[in-house]
């Protein structure tokens, strides 16, 4: 898929403005990602939100999107983040097509 198709996809998810902004940022930062990425974002445990499929190249872009999301932004300060089931500690985590990101809210087993 090419970039034009991405905009149509995100328009349907009401994210067109954010995605266009990210696209602008990305083309100014680095010009090597011309095809779209599809990264799945899933929300675990008590976060009542359907999984998202986003075109993002790193977690900084995910932070921008989720901080604008009314359903999920209150969880962000307390959530751990895993990429492909490994916990990560930095937003500077490069993503590739097909990656899975999980948000893990505070836990209490036992």
């Amino acid at each position: 898929m090419k970039r034009e198709e991405v905009k149509v996809f995100y328009f349907s998810k009401n994210h067109s403005v954010i995605i266009q902004h990210l696209t602008y940022l990305r083309y100014n930062k680095e010009k090597k990602h011309k095809d779209i990425f599809v990264v799945k974002v899933e929300f675990l445990g008590p976060i009542q939100k359907e999984a998202l499929e986003l075109d993002i190249v790193d977690l900084n872009e995910l932070a921008v999107i989720l901080q604008e999301d009314e359903e999920v932004k209150e969880w962000l300060e307390s959530c751990a983040v895993a990429v492909n089931d490994t916990l990560v500690s930095s937003l500077e985590c490069p993503l590739k097509d097909g990656d899975k990101i999980s948000l893990l809210p505070p836990v209490c087993g036992g």
Partner: protein, 148 residues
Amino acid sequence: MLSIYDSALDVPKLLKEWYESEAQSNYGAYIPFVGTVRSEDGIDGLSFDIYEPILNSWFEAWQKKANEKGAVIKMAHSRGDVMLHESSYIAAVFSPKRRVALEFIDEFVEDFKASAPIWKYDLIDGKRVYAKKRSTAIKGSGILGAKS
């Protein structure tokens, strides 16, 4: 060994199975911890969500640490509803000498509480209410939050 059950745990059966599985392994100590759902704050029971991929890797890291000290860890946890006075969690350490097992069960259960990807809900009046106040943010949480 890590086992997940879609019901309350059968404590006598699991403790017996674990005992028998290591009876000939020359361990001098077997120290189980059994977690039981208590009656408090008007709850009818607890309910659990589990994210198995990360739970498995977390457990494997602990198992490796235990193995390096000649010990072995076993754990069972429930998913879904567990009612009052039933068990949702059992962990046990086998080791050649008691000191390793006593220390390991303490460290393991504490890290389990702080890190294992399991979410607890109170069952109250037929509703499932996230036990937010009793929950702990996993180490390293908050990277997606707004930067101050």
